[in-house]
Symmetry: C2
Subunit: 210 residues, 2 copies
DNA sequence: CACAGGATAACATATTTATGCGGTTACGGT
DNA sequence: ACCGTAACCGCATAAATATGTTATCCTGTG
C-alpha cells in the first residue's frame, strides 16, 4: 500500500486527485492540504511514502515546501506537480531534491505509474520536463569552442594565475625570471582578448580552460 | 511512419530490434549497422527520424558516434541504448546532445513508446537514468557552504570585479568614490579570506557567488 | 637552410592594486 | 541613548601589474 500526502491549493484538483488515487488499488491518500504552513509536522505525523507537491501555491510555495521537508527528511519521495514546464522552477526543484516533476495535465493512469516509479527509486518526469533538464545540462557543458590555442607554457601560467599566484610566485614556481612571466602573461592576454589578471581568471573559469 | 537507423554491434540484438520494430505498425527500420565507422554518410543517405545508438561498441563507440552526428545534424533524434546506467556515460551522452537514454532491458512496448516520445520532442529516460541525472544536478549545485555574508553592496562590487571592471570603472558604475570602492573591496577580501582581485574572482566562480 | 614560433630575459614607465590609517552619516536593535 | 554595522569618503605609500620594446636561443617545417 503506497501512502501519500497531497499539497495542492486548488480545492477541485485536491479533491479530484484524492479521489482518483484512493479509488485505485494499492494507493491511499493519508491527507491533503491546501498549503505548506505545517509541512514538517504533517510529514512527521503521517509518514507518507510519496508526497504530491504543487508548485504554485500561495504562501509557502512548493519549492520552499520541498526544501523544508528535505532539511529533515531525505527518505520520502516528492513528486512536484506543475502547470508549466517553467525553466527556473524545474531547476530549483531538482536541485532542491525532488524525485520527479510532472505536469498536471498528465493523464491519471500515467500519474499512478509515476507515483509507483517514484516510490521504487525512479525519477519520473514528463517528457517535456526531461527535455528541459537535458537542455540545461548540455548548455551547462557548452564545450568551450575556441581553445585560444595557448601554448603549453601559457596554459601553465594561466593555471597558476587562476590559483591566485602573483608574478613573483609564478616565476619561482616555474624557475623562470619574472620578466618571462610578464612576457607569457602578455601573450595570454592577447590570445584571450583581455587586459587584466582577473579578467583572464574569469575567462578561464567561464570557458572551462581550467 | 517513423523511420529508424540502428547501431548495435551484437548481431542477435541488432536483428531482434529490427524485427521487433519492423513488426510494429508505424515504424520502419531503414538499416542496421554494427559500427559507427560511416555514421555521417549513413545518416545523410537514409535521413532517419530516430537513431537507436548502442553505447558499448568496438571502434567508434556510441558516444563518439553521437558527437559525430551532432556535428552535422541537430535534427535527428538519438536514443542511446546501454546495458549499464553508468554515470560517466550518461553524463557524456546528455551533454553530447542525446535525446534519450534507455536501458537495453527496457521491455519492447516501452521501447516503442520511448521512440515515439523521442520523435515528438520528448526526452525519454529509464527511471534509473533519470535518477542519475537528477543526482548529478543536485550534487552540482550543492556547494554553498559558507555564504561569507557579504552585504548587498559588497556583492554588487564583487559582481563587477568578476566582470573585469577596474576600481575606477566600478566607482563610475556605482556612483561612488574610488576610495569607497577600495573600502568595500578590502572588506570583501577579509570576508572571502583572499588578498587579491583575481583570487576573489576565482573564489566567486568556485563558490558560485556569481 | 631560412623562417616562424615558443620560451627565455632585460629595461623602462605608467597605472592599478593592496593596505594602513583616519573619518562621517544613517539605521535597526537592545 | 548606545552599540554595531553598512555605506560612504580621504590620504599616503608600497607593491604589483600592464605595456612597450628589444634580443637571444632552440625547435620544427617548408
Amino acid at each position: 500500500m503506497t501512502k501519500l500526502l497531497i499539497y495542492e491549493d486548488n480545492p477541485q484538483l485536491r479533491e479530484g486527485l484524492s479521489m482518483l488515487i484512493n479509488g485505485s488499488d494499492g494507493f491511499e491518500v493519508l491527507a491533503a492540504f491546501k498549503n505548506c504552513n505545517n509541512v514538517i509536522e504533517e510529514v512527521d505525523t503521517w509518514k507518507p511514502d510519496v508526497i504530491l507537491m504543487d508548485i504554485d501555491m500561495p504562501g509557502i510555495n512548493g519549492i520552499e515546501g520541498l526544501k523544508k521537508i528535505r532539511q529533515v527528511n531525505d527518505e520520502v519521495k516528492i513528486l512536484m506537480l506543475t502547470v508549466f514546464d517553467d525553466n527556473k522552477n524545474v531547476f530549483q526543484a531538482i536541485s532542491g531534491g525532488a524525485n520527479g516533476y510532472v505536469l498536471k495535465k498528465t493523464p491519471p493512469t500515467k500519474l499512478l505509474e509515476y507515483i509507483v516509479e517514484a516510490q521504487s527509486g525512479g525519477a519520473p518526469m514528463t517528457a517535456s520536463i526531461a527535455t528541459q533538464v537535458l537542455k540545461m545540462f548540455s548548455s551547462m557543458n557548452n564545450e568551450k569552442g575556441e581553445d585560444y590555442n595557448l601554448s603549453d607554457r601559457e596554459k601553465q601560467v594561466l593555471q597558476l594565475l587562476v590559483e591566485g599566484y602573483s608574478y613573483k610566485m609564478i616565476a619561482n614556481e616555474m624557475f623562470i625570471a619574472i620578466d618571462t612571466v610578464r612576457s607569457h602573461i602578455k601573450k595570454i592576454y592577447e590570445k584571450l582578448h583581455v587586459n587584466s589578471k582577473s579578467e583572464a581568471v574569469a575567462k578561464a573559469f567561464k570557458d572551462r580552460l581550467v
